[in-house]
């Protein structure tokens, strides 16, 4: 029986009676074609597992066979995240269990489409994977016209965010050009020349305790809520012209926030625990901003209500919501987001 398991500080691979040991702190894994490859950083010795044969490998007890997702989760946990020459093939949410996740990049093994787009030439709609957004497939389909996001898929469930009104949809291709923030695709919620962009509506409300968000405000609306809820009024915001708002924060009836507004692309972390709201920006240490709810419930992405003054006027790239305390994983999750987006 073939096995893969952790023993002390070694990843053990047993195959056909042979035993291979990989020091977990010195080993990495990569996806090369149709094979997963485990190898040491400083040694060429490697072990190759064809995807088609993953199911022939079991855990240490020989009780549970791996599938691709569980193998990736195991390798991601027990080997290095990055190879010297390239990125990890695994995805952030292979390792962490989130409540809902919206992004223009792929966040989990098995995810296919990440957005649906309407093109202005004939109002046709089509789905796109994260790769298809950046490899020219999307812009070729849109042509020299505009492409609007009609749906952002929930990458961990079925709670997709949609906008059914044409002139309220955020734009991703403008006059044939893919919209970018810091070189990567972005959903532009601020282009008033195109329409009166409004929040996207989640299929059902999501309750969360921890959130990681990536956005950039372009216009100082009264309050730039990146996610929110109309009743009860609550949500997370990045900035605002309101005298009550001074930076990145949350509202549950009371404003809690960091001070310092800017128009930069920011990775924000929000964590509600112990009756307080902790916030951090761009990998900095978290700040206890004061008493707050133990969780928030939201159903809108890119705003808080149907009132335009609390719409987000900027660029959206990622929101991950956890209904759990992820303060212990703050650094690792921020690192993954920043490794991809190079914010700081």
């Amino acid at each position: 029986m073939n096995k893969i398991y952790l023993s002390g500080n070694y990843v053990i691979v047993e195959k056909d009676g042979n035993v291979y040991e990989y020091p977990r702190t010195l080993s990495v894994y990569t996806l090369e074609g149709s094979n997963y490859v485990i190898k040491e950083r400083i040694d060429d010795g490697q072990f190759v597992i064809p995807i088609s044969q993953i199911g022939t490998y079991f855990d240490e007890a020989g009780a549970v066979a791996y599938d691709e997702a569980s193998l990736v989760a195991f390798l991601r946990t027990n080997t290095g995240f990055k190879t010297a020459g390239g990125g990890s093939p695994a995805y952030l949410l292979d390792l962490y269990n989130s409540e809902a996740a919206y992004s223009l990049r792929k966040l989990k093994t098995g995810v296919t489409n990440v957005i649906s787009v309407r093109r202005s030439s004939d109002n046709a709609e089509s789905d796109f994977t994260a790769d298809e957004i950046i490899d020219g497939t999307l812009t070729n389909w849109v042509g020299a016209n505009n492409g609007f996001i009609t749906r952002i898929y929930d990458q961990v469930g079925t709670n997709n965010a949609t906008q059914s009104i044409s002139i309220r949809q955020p734009i991703i291709v403008k006059s044939g050009v893919l919209q970018l923030t810091n070189g990567l695709p972005t959903a532009d919620f601020s282009d008033a020349a195109i329409g009166d962009v409004a929040p996207m509506v989640m299929g059902s409300a999501v309750t969360f305790q921890t959130a990681f968000t990536l956005a950039q405000i372009e216009i100082l609306n009264t309050a730039n809520y990146i996610i929110g809820n109309e009743s009860p009024v609550q949500g997370l915001f990045y900035s605002g012209s309101s005298a009550s708002i001074t930076g990145i924060g949350g509202f549950d009836g009371t404003f809690r926030q960091l001070s310092g507004e800017d128009f930069n692309q920011n990775i924000a972390y929000f964590n509600m625990r112990g009756g307080n709201l902790y916030i951090a920006k761009n990998g900095a240490a978290e700040t206890n901003t004061g008493a707050f709810s133990s969780s928030l419930t939201v159903n809108l992405l890119g705003g808080r209500t149907t009132v335009t003054q609390v719409f987000m006027r900027g660029n959206f790239q990622e929101i991950i919501l956890f209904n759990s305390d992820e303060s212990a994983n703050k650094a690792a999750i921020e690192k993954d987001i920043n490794n991809y987006y190079s914010v700081y």
């Binding site: 649906s116 309407r118 004939d122 109002n123 046709a124 709609e125 009609t150 749906r151 949609t162 906008q163 059914s164 009104i165 044409s166 002139i167 309220r168 949809q169 329409g195 009166d196 149907t306 009132v307």
Partner: protein, 73 residues
């Protein structure tokens, strides 16, 4: 709040105007399309009597000349 747009005394009139806009642009393109309308209407629920309205956008000029009116928030 002063709104520039199209004001309707009944919700049925607002719905008809919304449909006129959708039909003008051939929306929805298919039954399973996410996009169902070109514009939507709002309800001025705090006004008395209640009325309904569509906010002006230059893509719906065919609805006629917009007017300015106040909506209580």
């Amino acid at each position: 709040m002063i709104i520039t747009g199209y004001k309707y005394n009944t919700e049925a009139e607002a719905i008809a105007a919304r449909k006129q806009c959708a039909d003008h642009y051939g929306i929805p393109v298919s039954p399973d399309a996410v996009t169902q309308y070109w514009v939507d209407y709002e309800e001025a629920s705090l006004d008395s009597p209640i009325f309904w309205y569509i906010i002006y956008h230059d893509s719906i000029d065919f609805l006629g000349t917009p007017t300015d009116f106040e909506v209580i928030e």
